[in-house]
């Protein structure tokens, strides 16, 4: 089990989460998002299974565990479920015979294609991460934005880009609104559906009519 904190904030940002988990597994901090680039992943949490021969048998898997949720005091909104951990246990026990192992055709279908735009976006994103690490937020913002424009379905570029944004709340609002819009237009919100339920962000998003008046009010306030 390898837990990869993919976060430009490095140890400072992620240590408390690792410490709280008292991990018994391998822990890695990937500040440059190298692993997602190699696997072609566009959001997180995301997962892959790799068998004893080094073959990928499941990948680009949106994983939201049962423990993940928002506690509002009276009610707790549960984000995920145990389907991924149950499936993982099944694979560990049964290996290639597990019903959750994907055929190579299904795996290929689920993997994002490598295009000129996604490659250029990757280069821009890495440039943004470099400038962010150097404390040059202006240039970081510019390159995060370019990466996001080139690869609009890459939530990593967008969400990691928030860390360099001027106003976190404002960019959150804009991003969730974009997510709502994408939800309306496509079934492929996060990773493609894999057959395991509870794996994407669909349930978090609100309809477009909710965002529009809210954004307008927010923009007006900013202008004043």
């Amino acid at each position: 089990m390898i837990s990869v904190a993919q976060d430009s904030g490095g140890a400072k940002a992620v240590d408390k989460w690792f410490d709280r988990a008292s991990p018994t597994f391998r822990c890695v901090i990937d500040t440059t998002h190298q692993i997602s680039s190699l696997f072609g992943w566009v959001n997180l949490p995301c997962a892959a299974w790799i068998d004893e021969q080094g073959r990928v048998v499941r990948s680009n898997e949106g994983v939201l565990p049962a423990e993940m949720g928002v506690n509002l005091g009276v009610v707790k909104l549960i984000a995920g479920d145990s389907s991924f951990s149950d499936a993982t246990r099944d694979w560990i026990e049964h290996g290639a015979a597990s019903e959750h192992v994907l055929s190579s055709a299904k795996l290929a279908e689920q993997t994002k294609p490598v295009t000129d735009e996604t490659l250029l976006a990757e280069a821009e994103f890495k440039l943004a991460l470099h400038f962010e690490a150097q404390g040059d937020k202006g240039r970081a913002r510019r390159h995060f934005a370019t990466a996001s424009e080139l690869a609009p379905d890459n939530w990593l570029y967008l969400r990691q880009g928030w860390t360099a944004s001027r106003s976190r709340a404002y960019s959150d609002l804009k991003s969730y609104r974009r997510m709502s819009r994408l939800n309306k237009n496509t079934d492929k919100v996060f990773s493609d559906r894999t057959g395991l339920p509870g794996e994407n962000y669909r349930r978090f998003t609100l309809p477009e009519w909710f965002w529009t008046p809210m954004l307008q009010r927010f923009k007006q306030r900013r202008r004043r």
Binding site: A13, V56, L120, E124
Partner: protein
């Protein structure tokens, strides 16, 4: 000059005759710094990255390589264009995408792309060292 490639950031020399050529749109790399900066290595059969070797086109060799008093240089931008690797730069910071051929061959064979990263406890974790065991790899972040 700074080159970002394959999860690594390296400093590389800039051509001292750059002001004469006025070539700021191309990334020129010294051949002896090429492996550290990009992973590619010049061999008699061409430029090689692991087992993948790409010959330089004969007609372009004179244009893409140059010898100065500092050493031999390669116009990496032209080479990257040829293999479909994308590059972005801002001032003297250059960023290179993954090599498309490497990504595509990984997709076809379904062999997990290898990586080497530092573990939290200071050890180095290389994915290929875990052959013979099942691996569950997952990503998360603080944001």
């Amino acid at each position: 000059m700074i080159v970002i490639a394959d999860g690594k950031t390296t400093e590389a020399a800039q051509r001292s005759d750059d002001h004469e050529t006025d070539d700021h749109e191309n990334l020129w790399l010294k051949l002896d710094e090429l492996p550290a900066a990009t992973g590619w290595q010049m061999k008699p059969e061409g430029a090689c990255l692991g087992e993948l070797c790409v010959p330089l086109p004969e007609s372009k060799r004179a244009e893409w390589t140059v010898d100065t008093e500092d050493g031999a240089w390669l116009n990496y931008s032209e080479f990257a264009d040829m293999i479909g690797q994308k590059q972005a730069h801002d001032g003297d910071v250059w960023s290179l995408s993954s090599v498309p051929e490497v990504r595509r061959s990984g997709l076809e064979s379904a062999i997990a792309p290898d990586f080497e990263v530092a573990e939290r406890n200071g050890d180095t974790l290389r994915l290929s060292d875990l052959r013979g065991r099942k691996v569950v790899l997952f990503t998360w972040s603080s944001w």
